[in-house]
């Protein structure tokens, strides 16, 4: 306020008329700003945490709406349109895209099943299962020890788990190429123990193992977290009641880490099924996964409607699988408030 008065005063000395006008403008402005309607709005904005909370949530939701749901909606509508000459999208309704990807070369009577999309989708899901099982087997043990061991090195060990994230995925896959390749690390190491091998690249094994090592942290971290939350007196009490270490693991630790296992399984499965780079870099053409097929349909074939339909079907299949998983495990336990 004092600043305003000073400045109006300053103006007045130079031009009395202008000063008066300014004063009236200021007066009007003050009156407007102090009117109930305006102060009411400001009170609502500044005075109520509820408003702040909804603004914050609204921002997140708005972001999702603009950058996730809107494009998704566009893809869904694309999938019902047609491809014109030269890849032009013709906005006319058709079910041909879905018919093509779901029923082409599928003959339920004779059980012939040569549909490209469904074959590759199935292959993707199969790789997803392999990767998930592999990551679970490889990830549980380090997660368990990270969670149960008391050491001053814990922070450093956890850092090691997430360290690969600092290296771009593509570089990690190139590193994996160096491991599995013809003159790669693995071949040399096998050579030292007298086993002849000629490289493992461009195989199913390469894709699955590459994905497993890339996604392992997504399995380790949630399991580590649930192991870490187990009160050690639970395990001790099991022991005082006669449970051998193995038995107490089975009876106490394992059930209590299931939420972490489920979270890890879902994360790794979703990420691996939708993988694009691993099959592209580590696999042969026969190891193509669904993301690669969609990409080539979009890019090389310029068939946006067909590619969109592939994307939509993929989304529904994944969603369906997670819903089934939810039936058995209960994702509320996994991502909701945890145990209690």
């Amino acid at each position: 306020m004092s600043n305003e008065q000073e400045s109006t005063g300053g103006v007045r000395t130079s031009s009395a008329e202008g000063g008066e006008l300014r004063e009236r403008v200021f007066g009007l402005r003050t009156a407007v700003l102090r009117s109930d309607a305006v102060t009411g709005v400001f009170d609502r904005i500044t005075g109520r945490e509820r408003v702040f909370a909804s603004v914050q949530a609204g921002f997140g939701l708005g972001w999702m709406l603009v950058f996730l749901f809107a494009p998704l909606l566009y893809i869904v509508s694309l999938s019902f349109w047609q491809r014109g000459a030269g890849g032009v999208v013709v906005q006319e309704f058709t079910l041909a895209n879905y018919e093509y990807i779901l029923t082409e070369s599928v003959d339920l009577a004779s059980l012939t099943f040569k549909n490209l999309y469904l074959t590759i989708l199935f292959q993707s899901l199969k790789y997803g299962v392999f990767v998930t099982v592999g990551a679970l087997l490889l990830g549980y043990v380090p997660a368990y020890f990270l969670g149960r061991t008391v050491t001053k090195w814990k922070a450093a060990l956890l850092l090691l788990v997430v360290l690969p994230f600092w290296v771009p995925l593509i570089i990690r896959y190139y590193a994996w190429i160096l491991v599995l390749g013809n003159q790669g690390l693995l071949v040399s190491m096998l050579g030292w123990v007298g086993i002849e091998a000629s490289g493992f690249l461009y195989t199913e094994l390469a894709v699955v193992s590459g994905l497993t090592q890339a996604l392992l942290p997504f399995m380790i971290l949630p399991i580590y977290n649930s192991v870490n939350e187990i009160d050690s007196s639970l395990i001790e009490s099991a022991k005082t009641m006669g449970a051998t270490p193995l038995r107490s693991f089975y009876e106490v630790t394992l059930p209590l880490t299931l939420p972490g296992v489920s979270a890890g399984v879902i994360l790794v499965f979703i990420l691996s099924v939708g993988s694009y780079m691993a099959p592209a870099l580590l696999g042969a053409p026969s190891n193509t996964m669904v993301a690669n097929l969609i990409e080539s349909t979009f890019g090389q074939n310029l068939d946006w409607p067909l590619a969109s339909a592939m994307g939509v079907v993929y989304l529904f299949v994944l969603f369906g699988l997670i819903s089934v998983f939810n039936r058995f495990v209960g994702l509320d336990d996994v991502f909701g408030g945890g145990a209690e």
Binding site: E236, S237, T240, M241, A243
Partner: protein, 362 residues
């Protein structure tokens, strides 16, 4: 030969000696408490008896068998943990049935014995509920049922009542006493609470900084503390240090501040540095001199009326602070801060302890 025998047990964690050369025993059916402040090694001692820690030195025998190196799951011990340690993913029935399941008891018998155990802790019909639905006191009972259902040789309890509120704690204490008497199980109980230890135990073992300070019945511990630590830790008392003068007339403590306090019986010899513990409730306060032997003049600092008792915080003429507790005192209004008062210590109630820190005994 006692049922539980702890001989010269020491436990070190890195550089820290949590338990130092502790030896004690428990007879069959006896209720023994390990009492001490936090960090005194009582829980570590209990965990070694349970088999959850291995002693660095010394042996632990149960029922004549050396179990020092035996893992927890091979010992026949029921243990109640401080925060109950009930399995959140199992029902109450499965929790209580767990030790039976580990012992290969078949389902039907298990169900029967679990029901009996829950009956004993007065929680019938809770078998199919989740322990997380139960209140703290109820969880405590489930934990107790679980520790007793397989009829172990020894029951260990680690501050089992510390997580409960005051009223519930008292109820559970009475309940514990009833159950322990009913089944007559050898019990070792860890607590920092003197009331719990005294009301439950046949014998109290006071631990201080990993070392056994004194053991005996609650009465012995309270009326005859043998060390400075026990004198200070047990009860509420004022400590005065001085030197013993023993002659034909009896034993007198001459305090460093110049007071002369007559004592009844004492086995302390002439010229021994000693500490006197003046138990607050054994002192009496009055506005006029009574002419008794050990009468000290003092000034009231604060009067604290607590209902069943009143605490007078006073300063002696010689400068020491002293606390007097009067039970059922109704003349509180007559006393205020700054009042001159007279404090009497009955000579037979003067507790003298040799002062180990003040030079070697004569």
């Amino acid at each position: 030969m006692s049922y539980v025998q702890i001989s010269g047990v020491t436990k070190t964690f890195g550089d820290v000696r949590a338990v130092k050369d502790v030896s004690f025993e428990a007879e069959r059916g006896e209720f023994v408490s390990l009492l001490g402040p936090s960090g005194c090694g009582k829980t570590t001692t209990l965990r070694m008896i349970a088999g959850l820690e291995t002693p660095t030195e010394g042996t632990i025998e149960i029922g004549g068998e050396d179990v020092t190196k035996q893992p927890a799951y091979e010992r026949d011990i029921g243990m109640v943990f401080q925060h109950y340690a009930l399995f959140p993913h199992k029902t109450v029935g499965e929790n209580v049935g767990f030790p039976l399941k580990m012992r290969g008891v078949d389902k039907a018998e298990r169900r029967e014995r679990v029901a009996d155990a829950l009956e004993m802790v007065r929680l019938p019909g809770t078998m199919d509920r989740s322990p997380t639905e139960l209140s703290g006191g109820q969880q405590q009972r489930v934990a107790l049922a679980r520790a007793l259902v397989f009829e172990p040789n020894v029951l260990l309890m680690d501050e089992p009542l510390s997580a409960l509120d005051r009223v519930l704690r008292q109820q559970m204490r009475i309940e514990l006493e009833r159950i322990q008497e009913e089944i007559g199980i050898t019990t070792i109980y860890v607590t920092h609470d003197q009331t719990e230890a005294f009301s439950l135990s046949d014998r109290v073992i006071v631990l201080d900084q990993g070392e056994l300070s004194q053991q005996g019945s609650p009465l012995e511990i309270y009326e005859n503390p043998q060390s400075e630590f026990v004198g200070e830790f047990i009860g509420q008392s004022t400590k005065l240090s001085g030197t013993v003068t023993a002659d034909d007339d009896g034993v007198t403590l001459r305090t460093d501040s110049g007071l002369s306090l007559e004592s009844g019986e004492s086995n302390l010899t002439h010229d021994t540095p000693a500490l006197a513990f003046l138990r607050a409730e054994k002192l009496s306060i009055s506005k006029t001199p009574t002419g008794a032997a050990n009468e000290l003049s003092a000034t009231v600092t604060t009067v604290s009326y607590l209902g069943e008792k009143t605490l007078f915080f006073c300063t002696l003429a010689t400068g020491e602070e002293i606390t007097v507790a009067e039970h059922g005192f109704t003349n509180v209004g007559e006393y205020g801060s700054g009042d001159e008062v007279f404090i009497t210590i009955p000579e037979e109630k003067l507790l003298l302890v040799e002062d180990a820190s003040n030079g070697e005994p004569a």
